[in-house]
Amino acid sequence: MEPTYHNGSINFCCTLSALFSKPQRHDVVAVRLAGHRVMLLKRVVALEGERIEFRYGKLLVDGNTIEELYVRYPCDWNLSPRQVEQGSVYVVGDNRSMPIGDHYFGQASIKRIVGVPLW
């Protein structure tokens, strides 16, 4: 999530938001792994049922280009279109300058989203 959040940093998350509302596009969310000690911080870019793709670094959802002000470094990603499954959201980190093959992103089950960072 560089440069928004630094790798390995400690963040406080509000878990109530995950209980009472569904994640929205552009939200930064904490995705649970095996437990609650280590989590992934990612940004929601597409919601369930939507079709996502990257074309020359631009994010397209259902064919429409989405403006991403939080992406500060140049990006040249290309990803073929794919549909987000029901009960999932598509999450990507803000660091798009790294090669797409090295970046850990994809669709995550909504059940794995435990909250949003407080700041």
Binding site: L33, K42, R82, F105
Partner: protein
């Protein structure tokens, strides 16, 4: 004569009174009853009442001794992950002797065959103990320093000879060519109990984020 008779009568009366008063024995009489020793439980209770601090310390030490000498199965499984973490991790400028020692220590951690499943890379195969050892050794040479840690371990025992563990694995290191590696993945692991030892029999990387 009269005097002697009276003395005997007095002795007899004393003896009679001693046998008759059984409900309230004197301290001298308790010492004489050597045939029926006091119960150990009562003795222990008396000792605890007399030295409560020592008793508490003895109790704590006993519990610690039991936990150390007879670790639970869960603790044994955790220990195995710690051992794996130790042999895979690499300090900067690791000596040849340490590398050789660690290579030797990898072998007994694994079962004869170990299943490796990585859905993102379409890997699903069984590897022999020797193959895994050579992969780990080869992998370690690619890094100048490497750290493998396991957190959030959740251990279950579906049957007495099998342990299923869900955990988060963190692999951090610097590749020899200068690149930095920092990967965090959820992993499901299976361990089999063979000859009283827990051995790794399978690893599956969970696809938390599906591309």
């Amino acid at each position: 004569m009269v005097k002697k008779e009276s003395q005997e009568q007095t002795r007899g009366s004393i003896q009679t009174s001693g046998h008759g008063n059984l409900s309230r024995p004197t301290s001298g009489q308790i010492g004489q009853r050597g045939r029926t020793p006091p119960r150990p439980g009562l003795l222990l209770l008396a000792a605890v009442k007399k030295h409560p601090v020592i008793a508490v310390l003895v109790f704590i030490l006993s519990v610690l001794a039991v936990l150390t000498l007879f670790p639970s199965e869960e603790k044994k499984v955790r220990k195995q992950f710690k051992a794996l973490s130790n042999v895979v991790s690499k300090e900067p400028r690791e000596s040849v002797f340490t590398t050789a020692r660690k290579a030797k220590e990898i072998v007994p951690l694994f079962d004869e065959n170990c299943e490796l499943v990585i859905p993102a890379d379409s890997v699903s195969a069984f590897f022999s103990r020797g193959e895994i050892t050579s992969y780990v050794i080869r992998g370690r040479t690619q890094f100048s320093d490497l750290s493998l840690t396991f957190v959030d371990l959740s251990i279950t025992f579906p049957d007495p000879g099998t342990a299923k563990v869900v955990l988060t694995a963190k692999l951090k290191g610097n590749v020899v060519n200068g690149d930095r590696m920092d990967e965090t993945r959820e992993v499901k692991s299976t361990l089999k109990k063979i000859k009283r030892k827990w051995l790794f029999a399978g690893f599956e990387v969970v696809e938390v984020l599906k591309k």
